[in-house]
């Protein structure tokens, strides 16, 4: 048994080329799910293997990588993936959204607006927006080919009829470039407007389901809705207990067993940056160390 020697960013160059071809096709057909020969990765399916393969395929030695899960750089899986690329690619990593050239994310889009030249890589569990309406892949592919999205509108209508609202709060379906209905991955619908006309390239990798899709920069992304029930990017009416933000997505933290709770920014970098730059922050500053 010889110790295995791995290529830059783990994947061999042939595999990377295969993934890049899928990415190029995905960029050429915004919102279309391109099948690709997803590899077994050294982390489990469902834990970001699609995102990791996309990141591995686009990463260069000069890139600066940020990895977040639930908006935070310090959740265990984000830490694990960041370590993986630090180890296998030796790239510089950061927690600062502005500094990063590649950001891999699970379940959030950073609050800090993304810029041209940045790439946001989403980890996607179920890429098919129609999956829970129609379990068969052969059927859903046909529906996409015919742009047959009536079923989705019926589902949203039924929500309104039953609950008075569209009862989808995350993985809220969008239409990309006026053609394909796409699953934005399980991001809260609060993040949906950030995808529209975004200057950064957005890539979506689903490893277990073997699909890659993309939103090229400056592409129209519209959340599905009805004229009399327009889409609403909802958030709680609370403010962040740490930085005072009233326009960010908040996590609820239960502080005791007597109903005590606080709300804090889910995007930890955004929250820390606000606290550091605040001239006279009245909040307790507990900004963590950099992960460079």
């Amino acid at each position: 048994m010889t110790a295995p020697a791995y290529n830059f960013a783990y994947l061999d160059e042939q595999t990377k080329r295969m993934i890049r071809r899928a990415i190029l096709k995905a960029i050429a057909i915004p919102g279309y799910q391109v099948p690709f020969a997803s590899r077994e990765m050294p982390m489990p399916y469902g834990w970001g293997t699609g995102g990791v393969q996309v990141t591995a395929a686009i990463l260069g030695p000069d890139d600066i990588l940020k990895v977040i899960d639930q908006g935070s750089d310090d959740t265990t899986n984000a830490v694990s993936i960041r370590q993986f690329f630090r180890k296998t690619a030796g790239v510089t990593t950061t927690t600062r959204t502005r500094e990063a050239t590649v950001i891999q994310t699970r379940h959030r889009i950073p609050e800090t607006p993304l810029a041209e030249g940045q790439v946001l890589v989403y980890q996607v569990p179920i890429p098919e927006p129609l999956r829970f309406l129609e379990p068969r892949e052969t059927e859903t592919r046909r529906m996409h080919a015919h742009a047959d999205y009536g079923l989705m509108h019926v589902k949203l209508y039924e929500d309104i009829a039953r609950h008075g609202h569209i009862a989808t709060t995350y993985a809220y379906p969008v239409k990309v470039d006026g053609r394909y209905v796409m699953d934005p991955s399980p991001t809260p619908k609060f993040d949906n407007p950030k995808m529209d006309n975004c200057p950064a390239l957005q890539l979506f990798g689903a490893g277990r389901e073997k699909r890659i899709y993309a939103i090229p920069p400056h592409t129209e992304v519209v959340s599905l809705d009805f004229e009399d029930h327009p889409f609403e990017a909802s958030r709680t009416d609370e403010t962040c207990a740490l930085c005072g933000a009233d326009d960010t997505f908040l996590d609820e933290v239960i502080t005791d067993d007597r109903g005590g709770r606080m709300f804090v920014c889910s995007d930890t970098d955004h929250c820390e940056t606000r606290r550091v730059t605040a001239t006279a922050a009245p909040w307790d500053s507990e900004a963590g160390a950099d992960h460079v």
């Binding site: 048994m1 310090d74 265990t76 899986n77 569990p125 995350y170 809260p188 909802s234 502080t255």
Partner: protein, 368 residues
């Protein structure tokens, strides 16, 4: 106090250190060697090689050890290693007719050329815990001389009389499809289906095969033949112009003889289901053969109504590395999504409370 964690890196490192400690167990007790695992837990190693799709006893034994005996975890370890290996090409088809047979039974004929060879089997053992097993001396086995000629396959004997459908014809020059290099698309060829089943979870295939026996897509199976032994693996080397032997591997093959089929123009004959596994894995090979036959429903003009006949259902859920990953990913934080749902439920509850407060008493369904 803000509880959301900083210091995840340290926590992860400590958790893995603790795992290594637990894996080793009591340091007073001698450590398991890889040869002990591959020699004495051979069936576990066979399963890991089979579902890990990599024939390497030593690496599989290492995986079993590293995974603390969690076989799906071991399969995952082997797969993650396998995926990094370069691919030279495809071997020549295995010739199981030329197998050095160690075990071979047929349930369709009382006796067959070459005879029924029981070999090493749990069958007919009484499942009584053997409290004297530990440390006991093992008697030398009685070995018969190896058969001088290859044992003919039962399906070939039936095939000579055209009583069973022939094996699919080999198409010369057609490249071998590879599930691990191309994404699976539906409908899938039988070749790809068999690849999928060969690495599929033993328990999943067992349950599906069992379901066909209980009427969910019945196929009237007979175990035409199950054989275990060593076969030669050959690789056609372009630069030499002939096939060179790479070595021997142990495989278990099961050929099920199933429900016959005929038509106005064609005389009826039996159909078959096929199972092949690395190592000694009869349960898996038999289950695979049952499910293979069930998945041929459409090809054979049978109505598809049971789970075992449903290609998308079976092939999309057979892989235990995929399944365990996605089931266990529920351990990952989902608090962003949950927060969004929590917000919606609270808002809807407020609306209900508001309506109740307004005194109309009963909930109005907006529509059906």
């Amino acid at each position: 106090m803000y509880v959301a964690v900083k210091g995840g890196e340290k926590a992860i490192a400590s958790a893995h250190r603790l795992l290594a400690h637990e894996r080793r167990g009591d340091p007073e007790i001698p450590e398991l060697s890889l040869s002990q695992i591959s020699g004495q837990l051979g069936r576990a190693v066979d399963r890991v090689m089979c579902e890990g799709s990599l024939y390497d006893r030593e690496l599989a034994a290492l995986a079993v050890k590293q995974a603390c005996g969690d076989l799906i975890e071991a399969i995952f370890l082997l797969r993650a290693y396998r995926t990094t290996l370069p691919r030279f090409g495809s071997s020549e088809p295995l010739d199981t007719a030329n197998m050095q047979v160690r075990r071979r039974i047929s349930s369709t004929f009382k006796d067959i050329p070459g005879g029924q060879v029981l070999g090493p089997t749990f069958d007919y053992t009484h499942r009584l815990l053997d409290t004297g097993l530990e440390g006991a001396n093992v008697d030398e086995p009685h070995l018969a001389p190896a058969p001088s000629a290859p044992l003919p396959r039962v399906t070939d004997l039936l095939g000579a009389d055209d009583l069973i459908e022939p094996s699919p014809e080999e198409v010369p020059g057609r490249p071998v499809e590879d599930l691990t290099r191309e994404p699976l698309e539906f409908p899938a060829s039988r070749e790809l289906r068999l690849q999928n089943l060969a690495r599929g979870d033993e328990g999943f295939l067992l349950a599906l095969g069992y379901s066909t026996q209980r009427g969910y897509g019945r196929t009237h199976p007979f175990a035409g033949e199950i054989r275990l032994g060593e076969v030669e693996v050959e690789f056609f080397a372009e630069e030499l112009g002939f096939a060179v032997p790479l070595g021997q591997i142990t495989v278990t093959e099961c050929q099920m003889v199933n429900q016959f089929k005929g038509s106005a123009t064609e005389a009826p004959r039996f159909t078959r289901g096929y199972g092949l596994t690395f190592g000694h894995s009869e349960r898996k090979a038999m289950s695979m053969a049952l499910v293979d036959r069930s998945l041929r429903a459409r090809e054979l003009g049978e109505e598809v109504k049971a789970p075992a006949q449903d290609e998308e259902f079976v092939l999309s859920h057979s892989d235990n590395v995929q399944a365990t990953g996605f089931v266990e990913h529920l351990k990952l934080p989902h608090y962003v999504d949950f927060q969004a749902e929590l917000g919606l439920v609270r808002r809807m509850r407020e609306e209900v409370a508001g309506r109740q407060h307004a005194g109309d008493g009963k909930l109005q369904e907006a529509a059906e």
